[in-house]
């Protein structure tokens, strides 16, 4: 068991002929991910690393009905369109790697996906990996190993750091999700936690947060309310960061004191979460609760 992706995941790569799309198609194939087809409008008929390219998602699905997941490398101006195309074709998991999508576009897209029953991971995220089975993303595959710990993270590179530290200590991961760093993302901490709660393979969870927003506070509430019952270890990046960009007075009013490092750590600790001071403390903290 695992969540979101596994050996039955069959992937469509949108934007497969671009620099990143083509490079990471190679790396995903090397990892063992099943990639059935790619899409780049206007480039149908060609192939990338042996993967056939189509002009549209519908065309690709006609030839490869086994596809159930899309990963999007399309440039920001066209990425939302690519995501709508994947959702409308009935794909239930859409991973958006693209950075720089206007936040209003993401708001609309995420709401649409929800109504259509599709899960969006991202945008501006590293993707999802179930070690040894499938990597739908851009993370360096070799730092992950299979095991009992789930990870959900707001930061891509921090995820690699922590997975690598766990792997060195012999602690494997069930599924690792990078939910993305944009102000609005599809899958949230609490939605990912719901999936991990239901996954029998996951025995404990690592939350990698950062300052800003209120996802860590919401995760803490979920634990307090008993909707997540597995042990959790967290790290929040930005303990020493100077106050960043503020959105006028409204930003401060709307957060009502939430969003900062102290607020997040306080909420998490109150919920019984062990909060690491550095990412390198995580392996020893998590091994105590396994």
């Amino acid at each position: 068991m695992a969540i979101l992706v596994d050996k039955n995941t069959v992937v469509l790569v949108q934007g497969i002929t671009g620099r990143e799309g083509s490079f990471h198609t190679r790396l995903m194939l090397d990892y063992g991910t099943r990639i059935a087809a790619g899409v780049t409008p206007g480039r149908g008929g060609s192939d990338v690393h042996g993967v056939k390219v189509y002009d549209s998602v519908a065309e690709a699905l006609e030839e490869h009905p086994e596809v159930n997941t899309s990963i999007i490398f399309v440039p920001s101006r066209f990425a939302p369109d690519a995501a709508y195309e994947a959702i409308d074709a009935g794909l239930k998991l859409v991973v958006i790697i693209t950075e720089g999508i206007p936040v209003h576009d993401t708001l609309k897209l995420v709401d649409y996906a929800k109504r259509k029953g599709s899960v969006i991971v991202g945008p501006n995220c590293p993707g999802v990996i179930t070690p040894g089975e499938s990597k739908v993303g851009i993370m360096p595959g070799h730092v992950f190993t299979r095991g009992p710990v789930g990870i959900v993270s707001r930061s891509g590179t921090l995820t690699y750091e922590v997975a690598s530290a766990l792997t060195k200590e012999g602690i494997g991961q069930s599924t690792v999700i990078g939910i993305g760093g944009d102000p609005i993302v599809g899958l949230t901490f609490t939605e990912a936690m719901k999936l991990f709660e239901e996954d029998p393979e996951t025995k404990a969870l690592i939350l990698l947060g950062e300052i800003g927003g209120d996802m860590e506070e919401r995760a803490a509430r979920m634990i307090v309310e008993g909707r997540f019952t597995k042990p959790v270890v967290a790290f929040v990046a930005g303990r020493t960061a100077p106050p960043g960009k503020r959105m006028g007075h409204a930003g401060a009013i709307i957060m009502m004191g939430e969003g900062g490092y102290e607020s997040k750590v306080r909420a998490l600790e109150k919920a019984g979460v062990r909060v690491a001071r550095t990412p390198f403390e995580i392996p020893s903290l998590i091994s105590k609760v396994l």
Binding site: H104, A237, A250, A252
Partner: protein
């Protein structure tokens, strides 16, 4: 992208919101001719157009009882720095005598993945304090992004504020205009603080709009040259000119990372091991060697950084590109040499590490060792 007050107000007017009559004067223009030509009658208020908060308290807003006094003030405002920045524009407006100051804003609601509409009868500079001490005095409404702010919702905000019946529709229209601007301009924030009442009509005395940087390509009409924030140092502008997030700090250890989370963690690590970071510099995801080179060149020249700690864990960022950028920067750098400590892991780490080692640069697998050495080197100078 923050808009100047005069830009924000001109947008508000196009959406039917009343603002005090005014004229914008650019540095170098004939101030007197401009004010006289506008037909504005005293009393006037001159407002320095800078993109930083706290302008009023920093002396950037001044009253004038005659045109001559206004002209004199405008010239002085051009020379009066607000948080280190002199304005390029000054807005001269008819002074509106008022007693009440209200607050209204539309902003992104991250938590609820929607749009928040905020309003209060107690606006002005102390609005945040009021939000803390009397949160019930701020009405907060979450609008459905797909439906927008309906008239009845806007009216109900007015009712919840306790506005008398004859003012409710006017306030509702004001909120709906802000909401429409928020949507049409891909804004992160549309705020009027304060707005006031003049003869039963709501007038925006100040206005603030922040447009999502990622959406600025949709709004080419906003492409006027703008000087962001007076707190921005030369070094910050330099790095931002290349599209990189840079924050100047007080310490001696230069920090470069990829991704905000890892870069912040790198700073946390510097503190954790007894050092103080000289900066925050995030090269972002998938940086080219050119980008890495520019980032490192900034830090090699940046006098506060006595050593540089580069912490890269590549996913979409490729370690060989990073190594190439580092080598090019070290080659191009003309000033005094500065010790550089590179932690390089992830995508194509073998290639990247080999390139650096062959050039005689020590590469670390473990960031803690790199941090310790960088702190040590910064002390040793």
């Amino acid at each position: 992208m923050k808009l100047y007050e005069f830009e924000a107000k001109s947008i508000l007017r196009r959406y039917g919101v009343e603002t005090p009559p005014g004229v914008v004067v650019e540095k170098g223009e004939d101030v007197k001719a401009k004010i006289l030509g506008s037909g504005l009658e005293p009393p006037l208020v001159a407002k320095s157009q800078v993109l930083v908060a706290g302008r009023g308290k920093a002396g950037g807003i001044r009253l004038a009882n005659s045109v001559d006094e206004a002209v004199d003030i405008v010239y002085r405002l051009f020379e009066h720095p607000i948080k280190g920045l002199k304005p390029r524009y000054v807005l001269v407006e008819k002074a509106v005598s008022h007693t009440r100051e209200f607050y209204a804003a539309v902003t992104l609601d991250r938590g609820n993945r929607g749009v928040a509409v905020l309003a209060s009868l107690y606006g002005g500079v102390d609005i945040e304090e009021i939000a803390r001490e009397k949160p019930e005095s701020i009405v907060r409404h979450s609008a459905d992004f797909n439906v927008g702010l309906r008239s009845y919702e806007a009216r109900s905000i007015a009712m919840r504020l306790g506005l008398p019946r004859e003012l409710q529709q006017g306030f509702a229209s004001f909120l709906q205009a802000l909401y429409k601007i928020f949507i049409d301009y891909d804004a992160e924030l549309v705020e009027s603080n304060p707005l006031t009442l003049v003869d039963g009509r709501f007038v925006a005395l100040d206005a603030r709009i922040i447009v999502d940087d990622n959406a600025s390509y949709k709004h080419p009409e906003l492409a006027v040259e703008r000087v962001e924030g007076g707190e921005t140092s030369v070094w910050e502008s330099k790095a931002r000119g290349f599209g990189m997030a840079f924050v100047e700090l007080e310490g001696t250890v230069g920090v470069i990372g990829n991704g905000a989370g890892l870069t912040m963690t790198s700073m946390d690590l510097v503190y954790e091991h007894g050092g103080v970071p000289a900066n925050f510099l995030d090269i972002g995801g998938g940086a080219s060697s050119e980008r890495v080179k520019r980032a490192l060149l900034v830090l090699l020249e940046y006098p506060k950084a006595r050593s540089v700690f580069i912490n890269i864990f590549g996913g979409i960022t490729r370690c060989d590109e990073v190594a190439r950028g580092i080598l090019e920067a070290l080659k191009e750098h003309k000033g005094a040499p500065k010790p550089v400590f590179v932690r390089l892991s992830g995508t194509r780490e073998e290639e990247g590490r080999r390139m650096l080692r062959e050039a005689g640069i020590k590469v670390y697998d473990n960031p803690i060792d790199a941090v310790r050495d960088a702190i040590e080197a910064a002390r040793g100078v």
